[in-house]
């Protein structure tokens, strides 16, 4: 949709397809708001002048409010509002649901910095390099208070909470440097908790990943943490194992002893590590100890990443 210029001092650049969709509904909303505000303003001024009081004891004329008029000005706005809602919900669902082939990056917010981890293991602080034309999914958590990840040029934002994962995705369509703002008040240096998304052509990105950038390769892998914490003594691919096998677990439905079910996602795995007794899988006993306080956010990320990689 290109009814308006791509560049304007009144709105940020559009670097994703979602940005165009958000702008489209924004301009629709703005149009509605302008039309109605002007309508009311013009009527108010016109009536105030046209029917101004001419004698001190003048009285207004009698006007019986006809019910049909009240209905008209209830139903027309309601119709417009429902269009706004439906269109807005459609854009929102698109903006919130990452495509299945999105590449996953891990983000940790911390007073007052952003830590990023690439799927290939590279890590960065405050800068996030991504390839253009590839859907990127951020799996985010916080080490302390609530933050919020926002890139105005992408028109997407999401709160980043301690103790759980939230996600956000975007597909940048042109190389550039885009500002990240923390958008949820998080303390003294909230307004300095900023960063940049650096979108590069895929070839440049590959070069950057392998090149002389100061990226620290992973010192430990998820598999190592899995062994260090002795997860592998129970979670084995054997029939007699004490814990359920984790191979092929991610994304499947789990059935619990209390009859409830859930899809095994990042939050489920996180909770299973930290509070193993919250949900007991059918056929297994409550043997696993809690790892609350035993694993830090980074180790959790590594473990989850590892478990996700265990596909048949």
């Amino acid at each position: 949709m290109k009814f308006w210029p791509e560049q304007s001092p009144l709105f940020p650049e559009r670097a994703t397809e979602i940005a165009r969709e958000v702008d489209a509904i924004y301009f629709f909303g703005l149009g509605i708001a302008t039309i109605f505000s002007l309508l009311i303003a013009v009527l108010v001024v016109y009536f105030a002048v046209r029917y101004r009081r001419r004698h001190p004891d003048e009285v207004g004329e009698r006007e019986q409010a006809p019910a049909w008029l009240e209905l008209v000005w209830s139903i027309i706005p309601l119709g417009i509002l429902l269009v706004m809602f439906a269109w807005g919900a459609d854009v929102f669902f698109k903006a919130r649901r990452a495509p299945a082939d999105a590449v996953e990056y891990y983000v940790t917010g911390k007073q007052w910095m952003w830590k990023f981890q690439h799927p290939q293991g590279a890590r960065e602080i405050n800068d996030l390099h991504v390839p253009v034309g590839v859907p990127v999914k951020l799996i985010m958590t916080s080490e302390d208070v609530i933050h919020s990840f926002w890139v105005p040029e992408f028109r997407v934002k999401m709160d980043v909470l301690p103790g759980r994962y939230t996600t956000l995705w975007f597909e940048v369509d042109r190389p550039g440097i885009y500002r990240i703002f923390c958008n949820e008040y998080c303390g003294v240096e909230h307004s300095l908790m900023r960063g940049s998304v650096i979108a590069m052509e895929p070839a440049d990105y590959e070069e950057w990943l392998g090149g002389g950038q100061p990226l620290t390769a992973l010192t430990r892998t998820g598999e190592q943490v899995f062994a260090e914490k002795t997860c592998n003594t129970c979670h084995k691919d054997e029939a007699a194992a004490l814990g359920p096998s984790l191979t092929g677990l991610f994304g499947t439905e789990r059935e619990f002893q209390d009859g409830s079910r859930t899809i095994a996602d990042e939050n489920y795995i996180r909770q299973s590590i930290l509070e193993p007794r919250a949900h007991l899988v059918m056929g297994y006993q409550a043997l696993m100890p809690t790892f609350q306080g035993q694993v830090d956010e980074e180790e959790l990320t590594l473990l989850i990443n590892y478990i996700k990689s265990l596909q048949d």
Partner: protein, 557 residues
């Protein structure tokens, strides 16, 4: 001593019936309590305004020039806490509502005069807690007290402030219980529900919201304090709690609280529009029921503050569509007010300027609220200056315009004096212009990418910020002018007669200022509200004959 005159032969009224500090501090007269409230809330309005000055000065430049980041965070937090809890929520109900509801329904006082006085003391105790917190160094959590920042990470006086917010809630509840009971049980003979002025309907709806919402935030604040002091884990995930539960409980009150602030203002506007068009309001019942439906729907939309807080997208969709529904009764009100102007006898007196300004600003505030309730727009503008601009259009452009309009309308009734016409119109225009210059650029800033609660910001946002700061200066001057001429008028203003505007309403049928027990003869009502013409439904012409500015009828009061 005559019942109608004091020792000096002057007409006896609530202001000269008794003198001395004690006669004020122990009064049970709703009119005097309203004035006590007026003094208290004006103090907190001024304090909150000073903090706003600090905020706008700091934001005139992108860097950290004036104050440290920590100080800035305390400034915007205290600005929010003072303005919302200690000014906006009590502003119209505790002053104009307190003064006018018994007068408008023909009662001698509110149902529980002692409770009313107690509520003022409770309010002041709450104010002292909050001032104590400010004096110690303030609080830096934002007025929303989001956990776990407020319970675990903040190094400021959270508990003292929370105590203030907790306590002021009780004062609101006392006032609300009083209003509900008074409106139900103490109406003058003949004054049926659908003859009530819309101001009374609006306060009835507001009181419902107060009694059902306030206790929830009270208990939530209690839990925050318990977590902060005793390290009992409720909201901090590090202690096993759920920070999003706090947001649910907080907004369950704090979203309806928006309606606590705007509904009374809408009630004022209905009175102003009818009085200054001398016309029965268009769609009386629609406006009355719109107030009640706003109060009810207001309890179902809190989740629209949390679209991006990790609640499910489906919950977001439900809250979005419910929020759209709230816009309908608001639209009904705006259309009906506008339609009332049609073929009215529109005067341009000062209160009417505020009312017309309100309609315009509230329309913008409401429509941008609709944009925020639209999921696809909120994902971009959530928690940005777009939101800041939106709620200032509703709170300042709406609630405060209504408050000032009401104060100018009933000032002659309250004090028995008039204020200078030129200066009052001048200040109304200054406030309107200053307001728009302050807050309109903030819509643009928000869409461009400026998050709220930012102490320093990228330099490309500066132009709009400077416009906003310049507007704030004009707005500040606009607020100072009435302060001067209201004080001036109390001593030197021309004396007002019983009904200087020629308006219909029981409050205009008694003296200005009214006698202590409001009416010398308990009134009976056999006309509808705003019955300016004999052929208005229920109108007998009696009301207008009594109200007519040219009529020489002896005073009822």
């Amino acid at each position: 001593m005559s019942e109608l005159a004091n020792n000096f032969g002057r007409r006896l009224h609530y202001l000269n019936a008794d003198y001395g500090v004690k006669s004020w501090l122990l009064t049970r007269d709703h009119k005097r309590i309203a004035l006590l409230y007026l003094a208290s809330i004006s103090l907190f309005f001024a304090l909150g305004g000073l903090m706003a000055v600090g905020i706008r000065l700091e934001l005139a430049t992108p860097g950290a020039d004036l104050v440290q980041p920590d100080t800035y965070n305390r400034l915007f937090t205290m600005h929010g806490v003072l303005m919302i809890f200690l000014f906006l929520i009590p502003s119209i109900p505790a002053t104009l509502g307190n003064f006018l509801i018994p007068l408008m329904i023909g009662a001698k006082d509110l149902a529980f005069p002692k409770v009313n006085l107690a509520s003022w003391y409770v309010y002041n105790i709450a104010g002292l807690f909050t001032l104590w917190a400010v004096a110690q160094g303030g609080v830096d959590t934002g007025w929303t007290f989001y956990t776990p920042y407020s319970t675990t990470y903040s190094n400021s006086y959270v508990v003292a402030t929370a105590l203030g917010v907790f306590t002021v809630g009780f004062s609101s509840i006392m006032t609300a219980v009083n209003f509900i009971v008074t409106i139900h049980r103490m109406r003058a003979p003949g004054l049926t529900w659908f003859r009530l002025p819309l101001f009374v309907w609006a306060h009835y709806a507001t009181s419902l919201v107060i009694i059902l919402g306030t206790p929830v935030v009270a208990v939530t604040i209690l839990m925050v304090a318990a977590e902060r002091i005793l390290r009992i884990g409720i909201f901090d995930p590090a202690l096993g709690g759920d920070p999003v539960l706090f947001q649910h409980l907080f907004w369950f009150y704090s979203h309806p609280a928006v309606y606590i602030m705007i509904l009374p203002s809408m009630g004022v506007i209905s009175e102003l529009i009818t009085a200054f068009t001398r016309k029965r309001i268009f769609g009386y019942k629609f406006i009355a029921f719109a107030s009640v439906s706003i109060a009810v729907l207001g309890f179902l939309v809190w989740g629209h503050h949390m679209f991006l807080s990790s609640q499910s997208v489906y919950a977001g969709a439900v809250f979005s569509v419910l929020s759209m529904l709230v816009a309908v009764p608001s639209a009904i009100k705006v259309f009906n007010w506008t339609a009332t102007l049609y073929k009215g006898s529109v005067s341009w007196d000062t209160p009417m300027l505020y009312a017309l300004g309100f309609i315009g600003l509230f329309t913008i505030g409401g429509l941008t609220g609709v944009m925020l309730a639209t999921l696809g727009i909120d994902i971009h503008v959530h928690d940005t200056y777009f939101v800041v601009a939106h709620f200032h259009y509703v709170m300042v452009g709406g609630a405060i315009m209504g408050y000032l309009g009401g104060l100018h309308f009933w000032w002659p009734k309250i004090t028995g004096r008039l204020y200078p016409v030129f200066w009052s119109k001048f200040s109304a225009i200054v406030i309107f212009v200053g307001f728009n210059l302050t807050f309109f650029p903030q819509f643009l800033l928000g869409y461009l990418g400026m998050p709220r609660r930012y102490h320093v910001y990228p330099a490309d946002f500066q132009v709009l910020n400077v416009m906003s700061s310049a507007g704030a200066t004009i707005l500040g001057v606009g607020y100072l002018i009435p302060l001067f001429y209201f004080f001036w008028s109390m001593r030197y203003g021309e004396r007002a007669d019983r009904n200087p505007w020629g308006a219909i309403g029981l409050e205009w049928m008694t003296g200005s200022p009214p006698p202590t027990h409001n009416f010398h003869e308990p009134p009976t009502v056999d006309w509808d509200a705003y019955a300016y013409l004999p052929d208005t439904p229920g109108g007998t012409g009696e009301a207008w004959d009594a109200a007519k500015p040219t009529s020489e009828a002896p005073e009822h009061g």
